[in-house]
């Protein structure tokens, strides 16, 4: 698989390590009333779809940036690659 890095252009997927579903960006609020339940779901449960999947890849042997890759789990086609930083900021995260 070739991942089209937004800054570096097309790179072999071997340069990356895989973390999993992009929802892992959205860490729950530890002060919420139901933080226990939220963290259980956050850490352990997955949508695991057959089809389009947004997922986190880390450019370990490259520029060490985190990417959100949209990839089809039935065909391995990659349709969109974003900087995870931009995705997080668009959700209102500042750090």
């Amino acid at each position: 698989m070739i991942i089209n890095h937004p800054l570096l252009g097309p790179r072999d997927s071997q340069e990356f390590t895989y973390l999993g579903d992009a929802s892992l960006i959205e860490r729950p609020d530890w002060q919420a009333e139901d933080a226990d339940d939220q963290f259980h779901d956050y850490v352990y449960l997955r949508d695991n779809p057959a089809g389009e999947h947004r997922e986190l890849w880390f450019h370990e042997t490259g520029d060490r940036s985190w990417l959100v890759v949209t990839r089809n789990t039935l065909t391995h086609d990659i349709t969109k690659v974003e900087m995870a930083r931009d995705v997080a900021r668009a959700k209102g995260r500042s750090k």
Partner: protein
């Protein structure tokens, strides 16, 4: 369909016109006491033991494609019970004991070959860890034997003993481990279940569950609605897809694992060997091909095919262990979809929906578990209580903090 030597001779002389299908091809009835979704090894074993051990005959197995066409037909055929943790080892040892009596039990030749499995040791720390594991195995009634380098050299003289980075310093052997003719397991269970009245319904896809007031009443299929007293899912690999139809999210990711077979060779590899410094395991099939595999590709996939980096990694590990592999040609590679659970261990449990049961999360170790999984699942379905060897395989173990993390990797499915 019964087989005998006499029958083979008779059929040979009469043009093989007398062979009949081994199991029926029934249309689904309107209702069953038990519906098993998934006609793979675990689903068929469950139906077989429901009928044989628990006297339940109103049972249907519903399969989207053909039986035995999924992971029971795609694995590397190894059976063993060399686990460490209390939640796992009694279950896998029970499974190995069932394997040992399986051919007599279902009267079908599954070519069970207890040729032994050897896990190689490359560092002193690994020897300590394997010694501990061997002790844990023996405490649970399994056999384990720590071998020296000289003992291994006598059995496997062609291994790379003096590798600069990963010298072989010993091994942990389980002599009762070995290989099984995987397709015959599906066929044997299917025939045994069919003979006891189980309806095996192929080419019938489950499209949804009928759930009312928190109770599962049956399944919607491409052949219409089928009512079921209890519905058991056994579709490891596709668990995420199926359970989404019941609005359930699982502690599982689906990943692709590749396996390989080489051209046929004369007998060279007497048992199953595993490399301790990378992920590589290898045995020789009765046709002569070396059957081997290694790590999963490492990203979510339902594609049943992998990519070249994983193939390269497996072949590199193989070459590090058996340099002579470099002269062997690779014949075939294929992929199967694994339910990679969050702690690397399976789930056999009720769901929060009344009458809906779940069996999955087998990671890439489901084949060896087939008989015990079927027995434990049948026990759960028939009695409502977990089998004594499968009490740890619960959904809520993650919430309660009782994860069974055999590899100590945490909630990282692609690392188990």
């Amino acid at each position: 369909m019964a087989y005998s030597g006499l029958r083979v001779i008779k059929e040979a002389l009469t043009g093989h016109k007398g062979w009949k299908p081994t199991w029926r091809d029934p249309a689904p009835k309107s209702s069953y006491d038990f519906i098993i979704i998934g006609g793979g090894g675990h689903g068929l074993a469950t139906a077989y033991y429901l009928a044989k051990e628990f006297g339940e005959h109103r049972v249907a197995v519903i399969e989207k494609g053909w039986i035995g066409g999924g992971n029971v037909g795609r694995n590397t055929t190894i059976v063993r019970s060399n686990y460490l943790l209390d939640g796992n080892e009694p279950f896998y040892e029970y499974s190995l004991k069932l394997w040992e009596g399986l051919e007599q039990d279902f009267n079908y030749n599954a070519m069970i070959s207890q040729r032994g499995i050897l896990n190689l040791i490359h560092t002193d720390a690994q020897r300590d860890a394997f010694t501990r594991r061997g002790n844990a195995m023996m405490l649970n009634g399994a056999d384990a034997e720590l071998l020296t380098t000289d003992q291994i050299r006598a059995e496997y003289p062609f291994l790379n003993f003096n590798d600069a980075r990963f010298p072989i310093k010993g091994g942990l052997a389980q002599r009762r481990g070995g290989t099984v003719r995987h397709d015959a397991v599906a066929w044997g269970y299917a025939r045994g279940a069919d003979r006891r009245g189980v309806d095996i319904i192929q080419n019938c896809e489950v499209t949804g569950f009928r759930i009312e007031n928190g109770k599962c009443l049956g399944v919607e299929t491409t052949k219409g609605f089928i009512a079921g007293g209890k519905v058991g899912c056994a579709v490891a690999g596709s668990s995420g897809r199926l359970m989404a139809k019941a609005n359930m999210r699982l502690p599982i990711e689906s990943h692709v694992l590749q396996a390989f077979v080489s051209e046929g060779l004369k007998p060279v590899l007497p048992g199953v060997i595993t490399f301790g410094a990378g992920h590589f395991y290898c045995s020789q099939s009765d046709k002569g091909g070396l059957v081997f595999g290694g790590d999963i590709d490492g990203y979510n996939s339902y594609a049943q095919r992998g990519n070249l980096p994983a193939i390269e990694d497996v072949c590199e590990s193989g070459m590090a262990l058996i340099p002579a592999l470099g002269r062997v040609r690779l014949l075939r590679a294929w992929g199967g979809i694994m339910d990679m659970s969050m702690d690397g261990s399976p789930i056999i449990d009720k769901t929060h929906i009344d009458g809906l049961y779940f069996n999955g999360g087998w990671c890439y170790g489901g084949f060896k578990a087939t008989p015990a999984s079927g027995m434990a699942y049948a026990h759960l379905l028939a009695t409502g209580r977990p089998h004594e060897t499968a009490t740890a395989y619960r959904f809520d173990r993650f919430r309660r903090g009782y994860i069974i993390d055999e590899k100590g990797m945490g909630a990282q499915p692609n690392l188990h």
